[in-house]
């Protein structure tokens, strides 16, 4: 009897092991690797992107996951690597990802990383003389204009700041015909702030605003009295600040101290975040910023809630990462990606073809268009700070 019991127990164990193996074989996991800054002062971007990717993956998995080329269903799993916003580390991280079975990577955070990184990819597809890395990458945050042009393996789902500020200044001209003079303020040592400042000034001048001058400061500056005095002497009607929250708040506080009260304040896209409101809600009251994300519809609100659940915050950058996951799901299914170790090279090519062939994609604020240069044309709106929150001012 005892022998029979042992035999029965062994049989049960065996059956359980077989069943679990079978279940594992049924449920496949497709790993999507993201990368970006998860250390250093821009860590928050990486944290938000990772949370957004995980939140989107959770939604996709809850609705059944992705269908692979062989008809099996797979769940998405997210891995996120740190490139420290450093070009060399970014390249190293992508080489590491490319050495695995991954058929796509999502990132990076910083434009300087994207610029160098896209440079190691094969420039033109099917060019036998180009030994560059043949691995598709889709960027979510790196904001500098035109980066995807560098390689046909590079894609972006990043809003066009040129289009946003072009539209904003045209709208300002129309809605505030009496306002004429502008003073600019820029964080001189930050590539994104500088590039966007040039766009802002160019668009202001194109719309017949008179640019009286500019004040400059550095990303880690602590006093702004001299810069704001320059501004005060010029007495502009509009002040345009192309800086990130830390110095934007410093300048706004100094403007309040010196009694500089322009009729309009315009800010940088990246400052339309909770950090600005946490740092200087009172001084930022009324600042107008164009953004490609705000929780203005059910889909966007759901995304914001899901991202928050994963420890991040949904903003124009992380919302792009969220959208990318849905774009990848569609491409995986349409291109019949197999996601097997023996099909890696073919899967990468198929992903690239699939991404390059997209004309429109899913967007939280509406359909996103795609350009020939593998960039996104994202819907946007203008928000302004009101009573400690960001509120929609206008939807172009």
């Amino acid at each position: 009897m005892k022998g029979l019991n042992i035999a029965a127990a062994a049989l049960l164990c065996g059956a359980a092991i077989c069943l679990s193996d079978g279940a594992a074989a049924q449920e496949r996991i497709v790993k999507i690797t993201g990368f970006g800054a998860k250390s250093g002062v821009v860590r928050v971007f990486g944290v938000n992107s990772e949370a957004a990717m995980k939140a989107a993956a959770e939604v996709i998995n809850a609705s059944g996951g992705v269908t692979l080329g062989d008809g099996t269903k797979a769940k998405l799993a997210i891995e996120f690597l740190d490139d420290r916003c450093n070009a060399e580390e970014g390249i190293s991280v992508v080489r590491r990802i490319a050495a695995t079975d991954a058929f796509i990577a999502v990132g990076p955070t910083c434009s300087n990383v994207a610029e160098s990184l896209f440079g190691i990819l094969q420039k033109k597809v099917n060019d036998p003389s180009d030994s560059g890395l043949q691995f598709p990458i889709i960027a979510d945050v790196a904001a500098k204009g035109g980066l995807a042009k560098i390689s046909e393996w590079a894609f972006r789902n990043v809003p066009s700041e040129f289009e946003m500020y072009k539209s904003l200044f045209a709208w300002l001209r129309k809605t505030h015909p009496n306002l004429k003079s502008i003073w600019g303020g820029v964080e001189k040592d930050f590539a994104h702030s500088n590039a966007t400042f040039n766009v802002m000034i160019q668009q202001a001048e194109s719309n017949q605003f008179q640019v009286l001058g500019k004040s400059e400061w550095l990303l880690a500056d602590t006093t702004f009295s001299t810069q704001v005095r320059e501004m005060k002497r010029a007495n502009p009607e509009i002040v345009v600040i192309s800086a990130h929250p830390f110095t934007t708040c410093g300048v706004l506080r100094e403007m309040e101290r010196q009694g500089v009260k322009p009729k309009l304040l315009i800010g940088l896209t990246s400052s339309s975040s909770i950090e600005t409101l946490q740092g200087c809600a009172k001084q930022a009251e009324g600042i107008i910023i164009p953004t490609s994300f705000a929780p203005v519809n059910a889909e966007a609100q759901k995304a914001a809630t899901n991202v928050a659940k994963h420890g991040g915050s949904a903003d124009l950058h992380s919302a792009a990462a969220y959208e990318i996951m849905f774009i990848l799901k569609d491409v995986i299914e349409k291109q019949k990606i197999m996601a097997r170790p023996d099909t890696v090279a073919a899967d990468r090519v198929k992903m690239r073809v699939g991404l390059a062939g997209l004309k429109t994609t899913f967007g939280l604020l509406g359909t996103v268009g795609r350009t020939e240069d593998r960039e996104a044309i994202k819907p946007y709106l203008y928000v302004h700070a009101k009573k400690g929150t960001w509120q929609v001012l206008h939807t172009p």
Partner: protein
């Protein structure tokens, strides 16, 4: 130069000198440790900012007067100062100057990264005192919060000087600084003096961190590295080991920084400060308060 330019020049210098009190406090921290141990503690400014962050995070959710945050920052600074000694100096061979330089550089990065990971690198609002107060002085306006920072800095400096020149601990500190072997033979515990020096400079650093946060109204991990550079510049210009030198150099660097910002703009501002440092290193390596070489 027209009248307005003249007024702005003076105003820029005044703002810079007032803010320079924070540089002076940082410079004192660097110089005191150098004076006692003949070592540079590169993690000092990061620890100061770390202390200010710690005071904010500990009190997150509590509604307390801003002054309490300052006091807590000073206490956190003292604790972090003690930890810096234990981690970066206690077990490191002190006869190798590079060893402690590297260990404190590592601590700078470590403290900075701890702050970044705790706060996600997001700038945090810091309580300000007297931010709405503007004191008119003829055509000039003096910021109430910067005057407060300046006064607090001056009080700290006076207290520190009293501590060093009027207490037994101060005598012991100076003895260890001048003759470590002889002071040990006299029964002074070098380790105890070293730890106390780190704790005291840590307290000063905590106050400096809080003052910087209060003057800006925000804290960011971005501040650690530039303030380290500023502290070192102040320390060298003032004269390594000289407390009055650090005070004067802090105010000088603050004023000149703003002056060059006004005259030459942000792109050249730091260039002139570095040039000043270079001039001191070449023509007056002992700094403003260089002491004549004695028998030691």
């Amino acid at each position: 130069m027209d009248y307005l330019d003249f007024i702005d020049t003076i105003q820029s210098i005044a703002d810079g000198v007032l803010f320079g009190a924070t540089y002076a406090l940082l410079g004192i921290g660097f110089t005191l440790i150098f004076g006692v141990m003949h070592k540079i503690n590169l993690s000092y400014a990061a620890a100061s900012i770390g202390a200010a962050y710690a005071s904010l995070l500990i009190l997150a959710g509590f509604k307390v007067p801003p002054a309490f945050v300052f006091v807590l920052s000073a206490l956190c600074g003292g604790v972090i100062g003690g930890l810096v000694y234990w981690i970066g100096f206690k077990f490191i061979p002190l006869n190798n100057p590079l060893a402690t330089l590297m260990s404190t550089l590592g601590l700078l990065l470590l403290i900075d990264e701890i702050v970044v990971h705790t706060t996600q690198g997001v700038p945090l609002a810091y309580p300000v005192l007297f931010s709405d107060v503007i004191i008119p002085a003829g055509p000039f306006n003096l910021r109430g919060d910067l005057i407060f920072v300046f006064m607090l800095g001056c009080i700290c400096m006076v207290l520190l000087l009293l501590l060093i020149y009027r207490t037994r601990l101060g005598i012991a500190t100076r003895a260890v600084s001048q003759q470590p072997v002889a002071s040990a033979l006299c029964g002074i515990s070098t380790t105890r003096v070293n730890i106390l020096t780190f704790v005291i400079t840590g307290v000063l650093g905590g106050i400096a961190g809080a003052m910087i946060g209060a003057a800006i109204g925000m804290l960011s991990p971005l501040l650690a590295l530039p303030l380290t550079v500023k502290g070192l510049i102040v320390c060298v210009i003032g004269g390594l080991g000289s407390i009055p030198g650090a005070i004067l150099a802090g105010l000088l660097v603050g004023g000149l920084e703003n002056l060059f910002q006004f005259w030459r703009g942000v792109s050249e501002r730091d260039l002139y400060i570095m040039l000043l440092l270079f001039i001191f290193l070449v023509f007056r390596p002992g700094g403003l308060f260089a002491t004549a070489p004695g028998r030691d």
